[in-house]
């Protein structure tokens, strides 16, 4: 197990490096750099531009260095927790984002837990009671959940919450707690607000997982060993839980690799609609104003979240299934 974990971590590092390189290239893609825009703006306002000051700023931000060196500086900063400088806010990115990274993480984690908690019993139910009314209803809801873009779901929920309760369900905490230090009341306020975004973000992932668990379990239930177990007189519950479910659960856990990028993508949109205090709305704003370092660090953070999530699910899979950790790193 230890060997597997080490191997898995070692493959994770080049992946993260490649991702960071792609992101840095994207950040650098817009023609010109931030300073040029700034200078053009200052000149347009009729301000005198001191060439020495520009030179100083350029050196300060490291913009005069070659591309690869800039990249190296950026990556080393990332490793040390320094996310760069936000040009728009004139502040280090760390200070701009504040709690947002943590809140994004909390929302993602809660959504995954929700996905598992809901998809698991429903998937088992619709596999065991295949073609029953419940199965049809759940399948239909699942398809609808799969097809409804979650930002639209958020919008519709907002509308109905406004219509029926006259309240806004947006936000991740009570407005008075924003920019407050962490206290218990703030935490409980977040917990109170968390469930709506979690449900909205989790719907499509849950629906996909239900479909997959159902299909897996149906495959297993038709196999001979299930019939044997039944013939030997095991209780139905034990037959289900002890053998086929264990086989069906493997792809279910591995599936987090597919579901997680989806969840995080969805979370960005939903957080814009519901105006959550996560990275989403700020990412959109940063992209609109081409504040590329800020956007880049968000993108990097979200991609790492996916890579780490997949890593954890691989570890869980290896713990469950000895074939994987013994097969020399092949996870597929």
């Amino acid at each position: 197990m230890l060997g597997y974990t080490v191997r898995r971590i070692l493959t994770m590092i080049p992946t993260l490096l490649a991702i960071s390189f792609i992101i840095f290239v994207i950040i650098q893609l817009p023609p010109g750099d931030f300073l040029e825009t700034e200078i053009a703006e200052m000149q347009a306002q009729g301000e005198a531009v001191d060439p020495e000051k520009i030179e100083y700023l350029r050196r300060e931000y490291g913009l005069d260095k070659p591309f690869l060196e800039q990249y190296a500086v950026w990556v080393f900063g990332l490793v040390q927790g320094d996310l760069g400088f936000s040009f728009e806010h004139q502040l280090p990115v760390n200070e701009v984002i504040g709690d947002r990274l943590w809140l994004t993480f909390v929302v993602a984690l809660a959504t995954i837990l929700f996905t598992y908690a809901v998809a698991f019993p429903i998937g088992i139910y619709s596999a065991v009671r295949q073609y029953s009314v419940g199965d049809y209803v759940l399948t239909f809801i699942g398809f609808l959940g799969l097809a409804t873009p979650n930002f639209l779901l958020a919008l519709v929920l907002l509308y109905f919450a406004n219509l029926w309760f006259g309240t806004s369900i947006g936000g991740l905490m009570d407005p008075k707690y924003v920019d407050h230090p962490w206290t218990w009341s703030k935490v409980s306020s977040i917990l109170e607000h968390l469930w709506i975004p979690v449900i909205v973000i989790g719907t499509s992932g849950t629906a996909a997982m239900i479909r997959r668990l159902r299909a897996n379990l149906l495959d297993e239930l038709q196999k001979q060993y299930v019939i044997t177990a039944r013939a030997k007189g095991l209780s139905p519950l034990k037959v289900l839980l002890k053998y086929p479910l264990r086989m069906a659960i493997n792809p279910f856990i591995a599936d987090i690799g597919n579901v997680l990028p989806q969840l995080i993508s969805g979370a960005v949109l939903v957080s814009v609609v519901l105006s959550l205090e996560t990275t989403g709305p700020m990412l959109v704003r940063a992209l609109q104003s081409q504040d590329m370092y800020l956007a880049g660090s968000f993108l990097m953070f979200e991609a790492s979240l996916v890579v780490i999530g997949v890593f954890i699910s691989d570890l869980a899979l290896a713990a469950l299934d000895p074939r994987i950790r013994l097969a020399g790193g092949a996870t597929k």
């Binding site: 992946t15 873009p149 519709v156 979200e302 991609a303």
Partner: protein
């Protein structure tokens, strides 16, 4: 017992015992219930096919797929719905009662007008009640009330607002027009008094084609890259696999957003449209490449592939002429399942204001107006473009499901 299994002309059959037994059985008087068919033995009788069987066994692969697909009712209906939607998209000038940009300044944010058949218990045919407009001076809201006096009968196959069909041919023929001097806003109007239903019709043109262009790009990329990886294997395969893994660990939407934010502001709307479809296509290929690769890995071991190689066919010929056609159906099915993702991607981008920009109109651009909860609470009909989005995505998913099931007809 062993002699019964042997053919009649084998030496054992000549033994007296067996011949005696045989003659006893064949004589009808002492048969004892054992029936022997008197008809001459025809060894072809089992192998001959009934007409239905022959039809099935002689059918081409594509024909069998079609039969199998037809049995998936939901997929067939979805296909029909999609065909209809694309038909409307092609001829949207005719289907839409108004033009894309025609503004009605007297009817800003007018709610949907219901279609009625009976007026005061009397059948008049499809008509709408005209609106009375009043500005509420307390909250400055525009209030529209249907006036039962104003019966505005809809006209069918009529000449209404003139348009340029596909920007080329002048015309004014519409399927439905409002009454003379009347209005027909079936799904309400937006903040500039433009008819929402007409705009949805026009928007379908962009929203439905962006998926096709994107899928075409990702299809080409996916088949080429996946084909090379699967055919050559070895380090090429390894490199492609790692690249796919890296691409897959990007959360799609933030990457879409970042890339589309990079499109220069100075580009024309059409340029942005193509830019966005290229981005969607460029980021979608890994899934398809993976499917192509795994299929190729198993197919290249087949005999027909070795035969082609031995006869001196070049790799591109083996891949393109022999390997790809044997799983083209799978490719089509996965491409169909990729289209809804792209449509959603475009909708999401435009919804956030990072994708297409007016005057280009897609469903996402229309939904952009419904981003604000205050607007949605006051004018809920601005959310109506959600309906075609969900319908199209569901239809493509069901169609793709049916195609995927049919793609392997011999299962």
């Amino acid at each position: 017992m062993s002699d019964q299994t042997l053919p009649p002309n084998s030496p054992n059959a000549q033994t007296p015992g067996s011949r005696n037994r045989g003659s006893q059985n064949s004589s009808p008087e002492n048969s004892g219930g054992h029936y022997v068919n008197p008809a001459p033995f025809d060894p072809q009788s089992v192998a001959a096919l009934t007409p239905e069987q022959e039809r099935y066994y002689m059918a081409s692969q594509w024909r069998i797929m079609w039969w199998k697909f037809k049995r998936h009712k939901l997929a067939v209906y979805s296909g029909v719905v999609l065909l209809m939607m694309y038909f409307v998209a092609v001829f949207c000038e005719i289907f839409a009662p108004y033009n894309l940009h025609s503004r009605h300044i007297d009817f800003i944010h007018a709610p949907p007008q219901g279609i009625h058949l009976f007026h005061e218990g009397e059948f008049v045919g499809p008509f709408v009640y005209g609106y009375d407009y009043r500005l509420n001076m307390e909250n400055l809201r525009r209030e529209y009330t249907p006036n039962p006096e104003k019966v505005e009968k809809l006209r069918f196959f009529c000449s209404g607002e003139s348009y340029k069909f596909w920007g080329l041919i002048e015309g004014d023929f519409h399927l439905v027009c409002p009454a003379e001097n009347g209005t027909a806003f079936f799904w309400g109007t937006d903040r500039l008094g433009r008819d929402l239903l007409s705009r949805i019709f026009y928007g379908s043109r962009i929203s439905l084609t962006i998926g096709l262009i994107g899928v075409a790009i990702s299809f080409v990329l996916g088949t080429i890259i996946g084909g090379i990886a699967g055919y050559y294997g070895g380090w090429v395969d390894n490199v492609v696999q790692r690249a796919i893994e890296i691409f897959k660990s990007f959360p799609e939407l933030p990457l879409f957003m970042t890339l589309s934010a990079l499109l220069p502001v100075s580009w024309s709307p059409i340029g942005v449209f193509f830019g966005i479809s290229v981005i969607l296509g460029l980021l979608d290929w890994p899934g398809l490449a993976r499917a192509v690769r795994s299929k190729l890995l198993s197919l290249r071991e087949e005999d027909f592939c070795t035969a082609a190689q031995l006869m001196g066919a070049s790799p591109s010929r083996v891949i393109g002429r022999h390997l790809l056609p044997s799983f083209a159906s799978h490719l089509i099915a996965s491409a169909t399942l990729a289209i809804p993702t792209m449509i959603l991607g475009e909708t999401a981008l435009s919804f956030l204001g990072l994708g297409l920009r007016p005057p280009i109109t897609s469903w996402g651009v229309l939904l952009n107006e419904a981003q604000n909860i205050n607007v949605v609470a006051l004018y809920p009909w601005l959310m109506l473009p959600v309906q075609p989005v969900i319908l199209v995505i569901l239809a493509f998913n069901f169609l793709g499901d049916g195609l995927r099931d049919a793609a392997d007809p011999y299962k």
